[in-house]
């Protein structure tokens, strides 16, 4: 029963993801004057789903490795460790987020974390 429920949950999430990606692709196709087969959207959904699974596992591992219970931006930045272009883009986005927050989210982290972590964060920001 438990596995059944889990499978159902997975199916639900996948269909939601399919819908979401389908919407996005629809807009892209109109904008870029291309066409896609429905199978393409389905396959892309599977690809993105497994990529998200991997990502979440990675993030969890990174956070645990740092001895945290919370995933921080630095963990996400580690995802791009093998791709410089991606790192540049993500770093830009990170700067944007920090700028829009006004104060870096290190405040939340410091409330829970240890001083060592705070130092690590400060280093990354530079």
């Amino acid at each position: 029963m438990a596995t059944n429920a889990a499978e159902e949950r997975e199916e639900e999430l996948k269909s939601a993801l399919w819908y979401s990606i389908g919407q996005y692709i629809d807009e892209e196709t109109i904008e870029q004057n291309i066409n896609t087969t429905p199978q393409f959207i389905g396959a892309l959904t599977e690809l993105v789903y497994s990529q998200i699974e991997n990502t979440s596992r990675d993030l969890e591992t990174f956070a645990k490795h740092a001895g945290r219970k919370q995933i921080t931006m630095d963990d996400v930045m580690l995802l791009s460790r093998r791709n410089e272009g991606l790192e540049t883009l993500l770093r830009q986005k990170m700067d944007e987020i920090i700028a829009s927050d006004g104060r870096p989210p290190a405040v939340e982290k410091k409330a829970k974390g240890r001083p060592a972590k705070g130092k690590g964060k400060a280093k990354a920001k530079q």
């Binding site: 993801l17 990606i21 393409f40 990502t55 596992r57 996400v76 990170m94």
Partner: protein
């Protein structure tokens, strides 16, 4: 020509189609076999060969050539029906020459020239119709949206965590959203690239296929 109406009830498009059909109909049937369907929609080529009477500028002129050709003997007479077409199609075809032997060769050349000019005329026509289609599309002024809605992504991430107690910061969540947005965008862009490559090598339509995704996935996953 029925495909002109397929799905799109747009005046611009329809007029483009009509123009398209009009220009196309002046081309003799064999041309459509010479030119492979390079267009995105091969269906456009499949229409029944509509061959209207070609405009004959000067019937006297054609009569002239045939008479001179007939005079030149059996050899010229054999080539006469082939030559008649270009002479009739081009209003400025050279008038029947007095020197029959060289005139025969000239006419052979002029036919080649005519093929060239016809195929030349064919190309901009295809492009023009493509442009017409592009213009018929609505302008891209809608707001950008994420391929994966934020709430859904949060749920999916949660699903992937082994430890249910693990949390994620808001900023980190935004960053993951950006990461996945880039991932999907990159996948589509690469699929487009693969499709263009496939288009060059063979006859395909412009639809992004699963096989494109199959080709790009290994490198994409390595890059992300």
């Amino acid at each position: 020509m029925g495909n002109c109406w397929r799905g799109v009830l747009d005046l611009d498009h329809v007029t483009a189609c009509l123009q398209h059909r009009h220009t196309r109909s002046t081309i003799p049937t064999p041309r459509s076999y010479i030119m492979p369907p390079r267009v995105a929609k091969p269906v456009q080529r499949k229409g029944p060969a509509f061959k209207p009477p070609r405009p004959i500028k000067s019937p006297a002129q054609t009569a002239n050539t045939t008479t001179t050709n007939r005079a030149s003997g059996a050899n010229a007479a054999r080539s006469a029906p082939a030559n008649k077409k270009p002479t009739a199609a081009r209003p400025k075809a050279q008038p029947a020459t007095t020197i029959i032997s060289s005139g025969d060769e000239d006419e052979g050349e002029s036919e080649d020239e005519d093929i060239l000019s016809l195929s030349d005329r064919d190309e901009p026509m295809d492009d023009a119709s493509d442009e017409e289609e592009q213009r018929a599309l609505p302008p891209p002024d809608m707001p950008r949206r994420d391929p994966i809605t934020p709430g859904l992504l949060a749920l999916l991430l949660q699903q992937g965590f082994d430890d249910p107690k693990i949390g994620i910061q808001r900023g980190a969540m935004l960053l993951v959203e950006e990461y996945m947005r880039l991932f999907v965008k990159e996948a589509v862009a690469r699929a487009r690239y693969e499709r263009n490559v496939a288009k060059k090598s063979g006859v395909t339509d412009g639809f992004l296929q699963v096989e494109d995704l199959e080709k790009l996935t290994p490198q994409l996953v390595l890059d992300f």
